[in-house]
Symmetry: C2
């Protein structure tokens, strides 16, 4: 490139311009509360603001930054705003941002070990670190028989293990058995599972989403699962994959891993655990119980890019290589024997070995080549940002971070409970005790045990009119006046629209047992109590206005 | 988080630390020539240098940067080094880096339009810009009937269109027809196609990789394709997908799009064009001819993250919605009629619509939701970096950038040709003329036409002992002494090892017609003539040493 404008990669031009960009981004965070949280632009707004084609001649960075300020930021929904309470969070952080910068700076493509040994090795090490913080069984660590890998998203995580499980069975039964393969999960499971089935050619009617209801707080019932499996085996189908969720997207329901895992094992089914959101909480001892039973799983996933201060994308997936037990299995009535070669089902399913990528280390089987653990070939140096998050914050700060959000959610829950126009989580006495003592782990556990003894969950469904808060998501709704449920859903839909249109906060919704429910997910890095208080005021004000108009 | 160490996202801490990181990265580029290009570490080197687990207490950024310098960078293979000539380039640039920073700074997750309208709309606009630079037919633009989308990699691009094509046929023939579906491509096609077939459940024997040889310079022969399709139809199989490549990974072979596209159209086959590497060159008028025929394609892909100054990842995919012609088709002997609903096959194949993501704009079909154009749900604001590359450099600079690399490759080719111990591209007289006049577009075209008239490609295979250089990749090899081909492959394998072990350059290899061939791919942003000269000296020196030991 001639001397016109920027050189492709001149270190001093990089320095000068990147310093400008740092200030732009720091200023953005400084002023982030001034923007509408949810962008209020109309569809197609940007085309009118930008030219039809790329320029022939270079423009200056200042030109572009001016456009970002004037034209792009108004169209941004500010996920990092302290008043962002929609979906689940997608954390940015100083450490995560620095890691992303460094990754973009080095800009290597780490598909094979040789293309940057540090990228592969740091990823293995850092996922071992995170696995240990989560107290994952040794089988999941690279120092044991398994190992971790960073995927882009939980969707890709569930897809790759579903493909591994599919191909492991098809190698036994022949590829025409595809039409017989059955996947199980609850109807609260993320839509990513259905998409994975669609991609992998699983017949849609064989993706069995077992109905849940408030009696289990929307968790998958082991009894219903067992029955579905037996029924399917009796009609000649082949159960092969079970996805359990810890912290569903709608309502943070927690599937009972231990019971489900045993059923999976007894039936030779690959057991995947999706803890995309709630996995982060499990670095706190008092929340680790929610993934008890993970030792029964073949694969486990949590998104460090959700609630763990690691900029998007960074979805951590661990697999055991030794699954299921190397024994004869009764699989859909067909006796299957898994052999040593089945230990690395993931790699068998996803590896390619073209001549142009062959190299000594890979050919000698001395190294991990992560290209064989994922859909794409190329991959960024994403472990840098997770490494920097773990080192620049440290475990204790990360635990405080999680607990702080959960406390803010509890605080919001209390605000909802105190306003009789709303319906939130209504606790029985022992639940209230558990609630109050939750942050004192030992006392909490005692009370929780009492609670379970006194009030088995199944019998309590009706007392939680919405669904209980477990982590940092509160589900609630505005009660329709005169208990007229005909208007309940529209009312809450209108309330959602009204609060989001203020630009002051952004929340989202779900539907549980036919009811339109509002979701308030605490988890943005800048959220403080005052933001929760202010959000509640917006909700109350808009509710008053709506009810006043009825 | 308490006051210990960094706050999760404090704007002033971000500013201070990110400025440090900018200097670290700028210093890296300043000193990049001092590192061995290919990392020389041994497998497992990093585990010995890092602790077993994450720290409880926070560490300082300086600690981490010291570790990056001392422990990570020695394990990095420096893709941005000016002496990197392996695989294909993966460009970093000032503009691309700034775009990546901004994307990481905003850190939104743009799965649906509403989650950041600017992200979706900028992506549509910028892919229209790039499509226009490539002179793609209007059908591929969002202002026409089609549109572009940024995928992570070319692997994902070919996967999503393969799935769209698969499901479009299966909707007609029933899902049990999967076993009959046939994919076509040359044996030079990137392994990503085979992986996509594996993922999509295409039976391996139905992924037909048609053999190529030097007689077509490793391009797919339309005659062989036609024959394969007829044979398959006659045995009851259903041809449904054809992937052509413009610039194969091994040798930059260019498949003849126009003839192949007509065959595809006549047989109702989805026609995908993979120009992952060479697509970038097509912004120069003199190289645009290599994608002539793209108007016959249903989808087209080029990687802006390869040779277009956009930091990894940024793979641009365009699809036509209106394909194939809405007429009756004779498809594997079965009459198929495509209807209006088949226009958006990609979205039909990949969309999900869970309650928790529903919103007014999406429900009203007023917007594009890119989640339905890709495998994952979440997605980064990648259009920012492509936008910044296009604006901060401008078309003319980008064309200079491409031409400069191609000229450097020509220069290297000349060096090889002048050393009789090596075998490179041996031109016939008219080819030499074409070669000499290539950078004078008009004259070049005249000579090229003469060449084609005088020496039809098919008859010339033997004159190019390796394969001709078209873009910025030179294929060559060291001739075995005394023409003893038994040693030829080992000799070149050893030469590759020897030059890469010096740490001075990094090149890679392929195998063509059974011969081990060295690949010299020019394309790193910092590469200048002096780096090519130095690389050639390394190759000559190591060759002399090797030959001297024989």
């Amino acid at each position: 490139m001639e001397s016109k404008g920027l050189q492709p990669m001149d270190s001093e031009q990089l320095r000068e311009n990147a310093h400008k960009m740092v200030d732009f981004i720091a200023d953005y965070y400084k002023s982030i509360e001034n923007f509408p949280v949810l962008s209020q632009v109309e569809p197609g707004y940007l085309r009118e603001l930008l030219p039809d084609s790329a320029p022939n001649q270079p423009e200056t960075l200042q030109n572009v930054l001016d456009d970002v300020q004037a034209k792009i930021l108004p169209g941004v929904t500010h996920w990092q705003s302290p008043s962002y309470f929609a979906y689940y969070p997608s954390n940015s952080s100083v450490a995560g941002f620095l890691g992303e910068m460094l990754s973009a700076g080095i800009n290597m493509v780490g598909f094979s070990w040789i293309t940057s040994p540090a990228a592969t090795e740091l990823e293995m090490i850092v996922l071992d670190w995170l696995g240990k913080l989560l107290k994952l069984p040794e089988d999941f660590l690279s120092t044991g028989q398994g190992g971790g890998v960073i995927q882009g998203t939980a969707s890709e995580a569930v897809l790759v293990v579903l493909l591994a499980a599919r191909d492991r069975v098809l190698r036994k039964l022949g590829k025409n058995a595809l039409e017989k393969l059955v996947v199980y999960a609850s109807d609260q499971t993320h839509s990513a599972l259905q998409k994975a089935c669609q991609i992998g050619g699983i017949h849609p009617e064989n993706c069995k989403l077992i109905k849940t209801d408030s009696s289990t707080n929307y968790a998958l019932s082991p009894d219903l699962l067992s029955k579905a499996i037996s029924d399917d085996i009796s009609t000649g189908l082949v159960p092969f994959f079970l996805c359990a969720t810890v912290g569903t997207t709608s309502s943070t329901a927690v599937d009972p891993l231990l019971s489900l895992g045993k059923i999976a094992k007894n039936n030779g089914i690959w057991f995947h655990v999706d803890a995309a959101y709630a996995g982060s909480a499990c670095i706190c001892p008092e929340y680790r119980c929610y993934i008890d039973g993970v030792e029964e799983a073949d694969s486990f996933n949590m998104n460090a890019h959700k609630w763990f201060l690691t900029n998007f994308d960074c979805s951590a997936l661990w697999v055991k290589w030794q699954f299921p037990p190397v024994e004869n299995e009764n699989w859909g009535g067909i006796l299957l024997e898994f052999e040593v070669k089945d230990r690395n089902a993931l790699i068998q399913s996803l590896s390619t070995n073209p001549e142009f990528l062959k190299n000594k280390a890979s050919q000698a089987n001395m190294v991990v080549d992560y290209k064989d653990w994922q859909i794409p070939l190329g991959r960024r140096f994403r472990s840098l940002k997770l490494w920097m998050v773990l080192r620049l914050y440290g475990l204790e700060n990360l635990q405080c971070y999680i607990r702080n959000h959960i406390n803010l959610a509890k605080y919001f829950e209390g605000l909802v409970a105190a306003d009789s126009r709303f319906e939130g989580c209504k606790y029985c006495l022992s639940c209230q005790l558990a609630h109050l003592t939750w942050d004192k782990p030992l006392l909490g556990l005692v009370v929780l045990s009492m609670k379970c003894l006194l009030n088995p969950l199944e019998k309590m469904g009706n007392k939680w009119v919405v669904t209980p808060r477990i982590f940092s998501l509160v589900c609630f709704r505005l009660l329709p006046p005169n208990n007229n449920e005909d208007h309940g859903n529209n009312l809450n839909h209108d309330l959602l629209d009204a609060v989001n249109s203020t630009g002051k906060i952004f929340i989202s919704h779900t539907v549980l047992s036919g009811k339109y429910i509002l979701r308030f997910a605490v988890g943005a890095p800048l959220t403080e109590e005052r933001h929760v208080t202010a959000a509640w005021k917006v909700l109350q004000d808009e509710a008053s206005a709506l009810l006043g108009r009825l």
